[in-house]
């Protein structure tokens, strides 16, 4: 998995590419989020348009990173969730926790 980050108007857009299946990706994503939190960022948009595969360990990665964000009073907004990953969020009912938007634009605007 590759992570690229971009900060616009205090909103951090994290773009994930590849597969989110746990393993070594877990730490790199968590550390990325933590480093932005340490810089004072609180609002995150997670662009999932390029994530092909995700399993329960991959969900675990997002859940783990969400915790410190919420504790700091911030939030994650999901953007461009593909059909397959959408069903994973449906089954686990994680849409009760993660707000999802059709694209990065709308996910960012929802923070305003």
């Amino acid at each position: 998995m590759k992570i690229s980050a971009e900060s616009r108007d205090n909103i951090v857009v994290l773009t994930l590419k590849g597969n989110l299946l746990g393993g070594p990706d877990a730490d790199s994503f968590y550390n990325e989020v933590k480093s932005f939190l340490d810089k004072g960022n609180r609002q995150f948009v997670l662009d999932l348009s390029n994530v092909k595969l995700m399993n329960s360990s991959g969900l675990g990665i997002l859940i783990k990173a969400l915790k410190p964000v919420r504790e700091a009073g911030g939030d994650f907004h999901l953007a461009s969730v593909t059909e397959k990953i959408d069903s994973l969020f449906m089954i686990t009912k994680l849409y009760q926790v993660f707000k999802s938007f059709p694209n990065v634009e709308q996910a960012s605007r929802a923070f305003e």
Binding site: A26, S56, I63, T92, K93
Partner: protein, 490 residues
Amino acid sequence: MNPAGPESAMSVHNSGPERDVLDALRQLVERLEGLRQQKPAPSSQASSAWLLHVRQALEELDVSTARLRDLLEPARTLRENHLLREIGRRLGTDLGTESLALLIMDTLGGVVDFDAAGIYFLDPRDATIRWESLRGYDTDKLHLVRQKLDRGIMGWIARHKVSVVLPDVRVDPRYFNARDHTLSELVVPILLEDRIIGFFNLESDRIASYGEQEQILMEVLASQVAQTVENTLLRADREERRRVQADLKVARSIQRSLLPKTDLHLHDVEVAGLNLPSTEVGGDYFDHFMITPQDIGLVIADVAGKGIPASLLMASVRTGIHILTQYRLDMAGMLSHLNEHLLEVTAADSFVTVFYAVYHRPSRRLTYVNAGHNPPQLLRRATGALESLETGGLILGAFRDAHYELGFVDLEPGDRLFFYTDGLNETENAGGREFGLEGIAQALRDADRLDARGLLQHELAALRLHAGLHERVTRFPDDLTLMALVCADE
């Protein structure tokens, strides 16, 4: 002395061509002594002729010495070979590294000259001396010997990882004096791959005792020692793996004992389940048990992740469900309790999906809570329609204050309910296509006349066919758990 041993080789120079060379040498020494006594006054006419004679004698001395060395060489090689062979032989036995080092120390005397010697093994954690064997040092100077490791040539070698010959220690600033008589020194590191695990250190009271040959020999010995260390480590590693494997087998049998031992066969309903972990132990779980003679408890659960951590959490889920069932809590409240309990014991990136249901036999009503689990599929006998049992709430063990909703569904005679974990629908074929809900549904429909156990076997067969696996394969890429409830036909 053993006449067949290496020492017999030493007698070689007492006869034959060796004697001729020795005689020649003796004569040369006498000639030089004579020349020394006849030394003329400097810058006299005789002095240049005298110098010519001396030079000639010295050249002959060189030639004879070289000849003698060549003649003695086979004897020396023989002794070296004997030492190496002996070490090689002992390597085949269960000789420990330290015993090998001692053997080398004991046998080395016949091959290389030394007045003091040390073998050191280092502790890999902090590079201090773990084990040592010393010869020829004053007992009251042993503390100095140990300092050689940091301050002497060994400290230098630790950084450069090559062996070093010091022909004259008095002129080498790297030498650390722990013995007053020492004039030359040879230090060879014992290297395991790129790591220094010890040193050989030889000291001699003579100048230039050690040359390339001694250096090479000691390097060979050092590599032999490194080899035994490696073998010992590999053996320990193998034993450790065997032990872990044995522990896993025990864990697997404990885990198996947590699952129902038999299928449930009642006149109106039957339930069967199977659990195939992808490693020795897994994080999946199914259960069916009689709460009352009318009520059957049904559980399928999946812990995120695999292996031992997942299996421990799975045991915790099972205990939680069985205890909470006894308290007769309402099912939604029960799942909230279980969630709070699991929050305490799960890692930040771990969670559990659980489908919990109670089937009331007289009314054929299934009351259930789906906590983030793959929805069980209900195949209606009358219509052939498929229903997904989704009502419930969030996955367990990840978020505080989760609330759960109850779902209800009334079963009819001949209806069949199929429970599974994501190992089933997510298994891909060679083309990367998942078995999916379509695969599950198709197999369910194809098996609509089979009993509960037969239905599970049919799903498995369909999965193997999809994934291109042999019909005897029981280990899949992910943990796999299936359960089926079949209502009897009227």
